[in-house]
Symmetry: none
Amino acid sequence: MKPAIILVAPQMGENIGAVARAMYNFSLVDLRLVSPRDGWPNQAAYPMASGADYILDKAMVFDSLQEAIADLHYTVASTARKRELSKSILTPRDMAVRLNDHQNSGLKTGIIFGPERSGLENDHIALAHDIVSVPLNPDFQSLNLAQSVLLLGYEWFQKSDAPKREYDIQKDVAAIGDLVFFQERLVSLLEGRGYFPTEEIKPVMIRNLKTIFTKLHLTKQEIQTLHGIIKLLQ
Amino acid sequence: MKPAIILVAPQMGENIGAVARAMYNFSLVDLRLVSPRDGWPNQAAYPMASGADYILDKAMVFDSLQEAIADLHYTVASTARKRELSKSILTPRDMAVRLNDHQNSGLKTGIIFGPERSGLENDHIALAHDIVSVPLNPDFQSLNLAQSVLLLGYEWFQKSDAPKREYDIQKDVAAIGDLVFFQERLVSLLEGRGYFPTEEIKPVMIRNLKTIFTKLHLTKQEIQTLHGIIKLLQ
């Protein structure tokens, strides 16, 4: 279950192609066009799709927004401007949560975008359940159509995949025993060279030294490297 | 406090303009260019900036990445590809948390991007503390330079409003220039001792060494300590 991307009255074929490219980066494949200005299919779209031709090939065309979203259960309208309509304005992240919740309930969803310059009309927005706006610099708001699709697609994708691991962990981190062995070797070497001025200050200096090498999260290979350096410098 | 955006060897002026536009949407203004292919200033950048001319006007140009980030304390390298370097790969959201936490501690940060087609080289990535990758469709990964800046800028901007710190940052982290100075000293010392068996393998060995000390997040005091150790072992 993935949201459809609905473009209302898009103008340039190039922009439709750029939208397809943005969509496919986030595994979105259901593109719906409402009254594209230059008709459809439009060869101008393909070069800008950078290979996401599949999405353009299977894009569906409708005469009205109403028809385009008739099979969907929940839609969000993307708009940059403050509207007088009495709907809450979602952040992209909130939008992603709502899309996901609907999808998880087996419901079909979509995100609606307006024409390049003018954006969605109020009559279009009235058909959507919610409005989403990307928070931007108050002094400079300049997203093109494909960039808006990119950002909202990104948020949906992050939410939908909900990666359990937040980042990759190095696979080859050294065991703590190896680290301690290196630290002890370094300390004893330094001691032999008179590194510690007094017995009182020695424990603190040793602790500081160990802190340096502990917070490295060193790999086995890196510990070997450090051993090599010490050996050479000796 | 906002992250600098550093472009390493950008090719098309148009893309630099598109990056400025993406940046300013999220209130990012500090653009740094390392060896732009067509020189700088470049009039081709302005039409694509859609009015974010201010950022182009005050962009700084450097001969090397090292110089471009010398005044920063924490940097993240943006890359699409799996790397063999032993650094964690952050999600954009994790990156935003780390940038924000450093900034809240009064530290200067930056995000580093590579050339349009080839991306960052490993030697560039070795200078960064962390790597960030945008999670994308495994079957289609096609972000251009400005789109990468847009997505990472977006995540930073969403996070930058958040009041709470998610992890503690050392207050006295050394500036990157100090770290580089130490690394250079170590390398030259090792070179004098015949550490590098062949000229072919030398760049890889140097890169691995630098990676070790970059991911330490060393404080000024700790760099002093390491200088002291080297001096003593010499």
